[in-house]
Symmetry: none
């Protein structure tokens, strides 16, 4: 029996609410071995108070040594085995711009490129044209019409854009049209199975019309297509956990990921304070709240240790407002570590704190890497955080007699 | 290669004896987050002395967040993956009354119920008739005879009793006859595969005769049948580990579970002291001893923190007697946690202590949850305790060259 079947068979209705506060990339590193991490450096009186009554551990996003992208990082936190539930690149790109995919959709990551008079690629990224310029060209592609399919074309950033085909009978097993080198033409989209033939034909027709429209462009006069992908097949939070789940996030990518899990996107927040406003307003309407804080990751990615410390201190300030709502299970964690020292995501496990009336308090005095390493939750795969959340919220029954 | 195949290929003959002392439900919770658990509160000088020379960890009975019943809890400790080796409800009920199932048996959980003149159920539990009254009615059912099958009928508690059919060719894929609601008749037993047709026919004939016998009863005038189950297919301790294994327990349920693993039930003990007497007497005759102490669980189930503390202190008193036998590997653990705060089994991992000449001592000063959380055994699935026991007893060879 897999963990999802087990949870479905054991879950019980309950009143206890769960808050999953994800501080993106919160785990860190000392700038020099032996020193303190960003989280250990930050002054976090509120989180430390929770550490004294809660239980900590280190969550391993994928497997030891494996650095996750945002997609698998969040999927693990949401309770999906990130090595089993794979989000296709097209679907992830669509999620990243907040496009709500439906069952019948196939999403494709597209790049503008430059081709010469013979149709051979001279620049696979069309000179990385600026986003505003690119968006205008994308606008022109919205004129493309193909019988039997609804088409969405949306800009992403610089030379990148997303195309979504919506219609019945569209498989997503279509090979990339990017030859990955210059001096050759853009490839034809080739179906890799019977069920994807229609998709390949539509993609070919899309490209044919696009090339006509783009003929007058100097840089973006052609495009490639990669990562054909349907919406991932994931059981929803309602189905798995019987939870009415809300997503409170600022950035489209995290909203997209949450929507794959069937969470409802609640409120329009531009700041952490506004996110907590939204949380308070929506409190009575949902059982589960995923609240995403982006800037610990951003400052980590910038390689700015001190600014990441400040972001953690900003996070600490809103903790009492969440705690005041009295969640049955309040989790503070991250989807991965983003040490300023590395200026990138990393493989290091993530300090995770659970506060609940059913938490078995450990010896921790602070929320941080060292205390989490010796904490009562041990070191666990992120995909088990949701079973732990359900248990701490009193929403799981007994297995066997 | 699965862990059982691995162990079988690596095991070596040895002299070192293993004691698995299971203090049922020993893991606990502080009554208020931040406080001490039952085990941390108890004065346990003997266990603490062992903690200083042994190694501790937290054993996860099933998976993080999952609360086990006694069956899967013990199966994990005994080295069987509790999600793979499932004990059917009928077999567990038979184990619970100390009925020794054989290969040819199918056990069934039965409930007396009350039906009206039309045969429709009016009370699914026959007014929860008292156990002594129920036992008398069960006695009458012993008169039932069916050609080609031996039949056992044994009382359990209140309206519950167990029926066992013994004979060749009896499958256990038979649907429950309890319609799970009143106002309708008891269902016919229906075979869900070819191999269980004979069982279904016998069950139907049993019910026919039973209804005649019960006709004069006012409450218990009918019965339902649920959880048809054969003995679980488990490799024995002899087969797996090459161990001659003994079970020393007071309660039938734990004797039944041990017998599924092929352990020999040794002695008749009514108290912990008597169990240790039995252990001493049987010391030369076995390699492995499962010693079960029930009352930490019982007082936890009662929600009585102070009494659970006392039971732990009782347990501590017998520790020197076990240690004096000089086992090569002495394990103190529980099958799950039973926090007095929850008055029930819980999902919290279980403090586990291994004392052995081969134990790599950790920093622990006490046997308890906080020390175990940071201990040298880490947090591990209970099914790996037996490989650890074998290794600490010097009974496992090297894998690969």
């Amino acid at each position: 029996m897999d963990i999802h079947e087990l949870i479905k068979s054991l879950r019980e209705p309950g009143e206890g609410k769960i808050v999953l506060l994800v501080s993106d990339g919160i785990g860190g590193l000392p700038m020099k071995p032996g020193g303190l991490t960003e989280l250990e450096t930050a002054k976090t009186p509120n989180l430390d108070a929770l550490a004294k009554i809660g239980v900590q551990g280190l969550s391993v996003p994928i497997l030891p040594g494996i650095t996750p992208g945002s997609g698998p990082g969040h999927l693990g936190l949401f309770g999906y085995d990130p090595l089993k539930f794979i989000i296709g690149r097209g679907a992830l790109e669509a999620a990243g711009i907040g496009f709500q995919m439906q069952e019948n959709d196939v999403a494709i990551r597209c790049n503008f490129c430059t081709t010469d008079a013979k149709g051979n690629i001279t620049d696979r990224r069309a000179g990385r044209i600026p986003s505003d310029e690119s968006a205008k060209v994308v606008g022109k592609l919205k004129a493309i019409k193909i019988d039997g399919v609804e088409i969405f074309v949306e800009p992403v950033k610089e030379h990148r854009f997303v195309v979504v085909f919506r219609g019945a009978g569209l498989g997503d097993a279509v090979a990339d049209t990017d030859p990955q080198r210059t001096g050759v033409p853009v490839l034809d989209p080739v179906a890799r199975n019977e069920a994807s033939k229609k998709t390949a034909e539509i993609a070919k027709e899309f490209h044919r019309q696009a090339v006509k429209i783009l003929a007058s462009e100097t840089k973006a006069n052609n495009h490639t297509m990669r990562g054909f992908a349907k919406k991932p097949h994931m059981p929803s939070y309602e189905e798995l956990y019987g939870l009415k789940a809300a997503c409170i996030a600022v950035y489209p990518m995290y909203k997209g990921l949450a929507s794959f899990a069937g969470m409802t996107l609640v409120g329009k927040s531009a700041t952490l304070t506004e996110e907590i406003d939204t949380l308070e307003k929506a409190w009575n309407d949902y059982d589960f709240f995923f609240v995403h804080f982006k800037y610990t990751d951003s400052r980590g990615e910038d390689g700015n240790f001190d600014e990441k410390v400040k972001m953690i201190e900003e996070l600490d300030k809103v903790i009492p407002r969440i705690q005041a709502l009295n969640p049955a299970c309040f989790i503070v964690t991250g989807d991965h570590s983003t040490p300023a020292k590395m200026a990138s995501h990393s493989f290091h496990p993530v300090p995770t704190l659970i506060v609940s009336d059913l938490a078995r308090t450990d010896a921790a005095e602070h929320y941080g890497e060292r205390d989490a390493a010796a904490g009562g939750l041990g070191h666990f795969e992120a995909q088990y955080l949701m079973p732990l959340a359900m248990a701490h919220a009193g929403r799981l029954g007994k297995f066997g007699a």
